[in-house]
Amino acid sequence: METAALKQQVKEQIIHFLNLTTVKPEDIKDDEPLFGEGLGLDSIDSIELIVLLSREYGITIQDPKEGRKILTDINTMVDYIEKNRTK
């Protein structure tokens, strides 16, 4: 899948998984921080997204701290998916 399309897909998945009912994919900028500022996600969300990566892309992340780095923004997240997906 092309990177642009994957980014779109990941945004839709994040919105659906985290029940962000007031957010549309076009509201999430690729380089906007997902945690703290930007989208304002928290520690429970980071765990949820690690589960998302496992269920949708077959990626296992053992260390939640490493997970936070991968989940910095859409760019880092999609980059990691492209390099490590098994699904």
Partner: protein, 388 residues
């Protein structure tokens, strides 16, 4: 008092284990879960069938493990208190229970009953939190005020304080208070999903701690006004209590431990004691990164010199809804026997706070013990027990 946990079936047996530093944390023996063999827990060392038979003789088909543990501990407390059947049944005896799992230890049965269309399991009315307290109410035909509290890990601490207040305000003359908890896929998987379970035996307040171990147990205490039990075997006074909310995050404490600090401060204030009069703290000390660091910070904020402290969860695991009551009994044992118990498996202090818990069993002059219970949802409670 009455108590059953991974380290003993009675108050006496528990004390023995505490004194001789025998932990109850081990691999799962009885409960059926995919995590048996992978996550250490502190199970009560009896099957549910054995517990059922011991209490009912002819096994009760609709009672859950949590309720059985509650009945066991309440039974011991009632026997110990010398209350007569008439007193128990009277409208003047209150009962306050606590649990966070209730009958939900029966995951497969609830799942069945939640979806079945024509008939259910015998547990249909045994799933809710109240069913645990009701098991005691029914057994003794109690006609006084009855309540059940669920504030996550601080539940039974709040049950103790609610019972004390019912007496103080004339809703009851005496109160049986406590809590019970049993292992459940619900909590095992829930805590695991939050990444706060350790795959090793927990090491509260240690620099390299990496999570908690779940535990099972139940503890009940009989509370009476001083003038009503002068000629009885009195163990301790409940001299102070605090209940405050951390209001920071659903499942972790604020970095400076605001909720824990405010809860301990309030207990101290209404006990009339000065900080330096606290002889020992039975800390919440779950072994998670967040709790132990924030609880340490809160203690440093409140105490110029932090008193000796330890976490008995290193013996019993985290008994969730029962923790407040289990640790209340341990705090009272500190007072009765003038001794303190260590925090097991501690090696190095947390770098940021440098606090070192008690590391070995010792006899010690103890006048006032503070016991902390901090739960999800920012629910922080503290109890202070004092020597009679």
């Amino acid at each position: 008092m009455g108590l059953i946990s991974a380290i003993g079936d009675s108050v006496e047996e528990n004390r023995d284990s505490l004194q001789f530093e025998r932990s109850g944390i081990d691999h799962i023996q009885f409960y059926k879960t995919a995590y048996a063999g992978r996550l250490p827990t502190a199970e009560v060392k009896h099957s549910t069938e054995a517990l059922n038979k011991k209490i009912f003789g002819e096994p009760n088909p609709s009672i859950t493990r949590t309720s059985l543990l509650a009945l066991h501990a309440a039974g011991e407390a009632i026997k110990d208190s010398g209350l007569t059947a008439d007193q128990l049944a009277s409208t003047e005896t209150a009962l306050v229970g606590a649990t966070t799992v209730g009958g939900m230890c029966l995951t497969d049965e609830i799942y069945h009953d939640a979806l079945a269309k024509d008939h259910g399991t015998p547990y249909l009315t045994s799933y809710d939190y109240a069913s645990v307290t009701m098991a005691i109410q029914e057994r003794y035909g109690m006609l006084g005020e009855v309540s059940t509290i669920n504030t996550a890990c601080s539940s039974s601490a709040n049950a103790i304080l609610f019972g004390a207040r019912l007496i103080r305000h004339g809703y009851a003359k005496r109160a049986i208070v406590g809590g019970a908890e049993s292992l459940a896929k619900f909590t095992i998987n829930g805590f695991n999903a939050l990444n706060i379970l350790s795959s090793k035996a927990c090491a509260p307040f240690d620099r390299d701690r990496n999570g908690l171990n779940l535990g099972e147990g139940a503890a009940f205490l009989v509370l009476e006004k001083e003038e009503d039990c002068r000629d009885k075997n009195n163990y301790a006074f409940l001299s102070g209590y605090g209940n405050k909310n951390d209001a920071y995050h659903p499942s972790s404490n604020s970095p400076e431990g605001d909720g824990p600090y405010l809860s301990m401060k309030e207990a101290l204030q209404n006990s009339g004691l000065r900080a330096e009069e606290i002889s020992y703290i039975n800390a919440h000390g779950t072994g998670t990164e967040n709790n132990d660091e924030t609880e340490s910070r809160a203690m440093l904020r409140l105490f110029e010199k932090v008193p000796p402290f330890s976490s008995t969860k290193s013996y019993t695991g985290h008994t969730l809804g029962a923790a407040g009551a289990v640790e209340a009994v341990y705090s009272i044992l500190n007072l009765v026997h003038q001794e303190i118990y260590p925090s097991l498996l501690f090696k190095n202090p947390i770098i940021e706070t440098g606090l070192i818990p008690v590391r070995a069993y010792a006899k010690q002059q103890i006048k006032n013990v503070m016991s902390n219970s901090f739960g999800f949802g920012g629910n922080c409670s503290t109890l202070i027990f004092s020597k009679t």
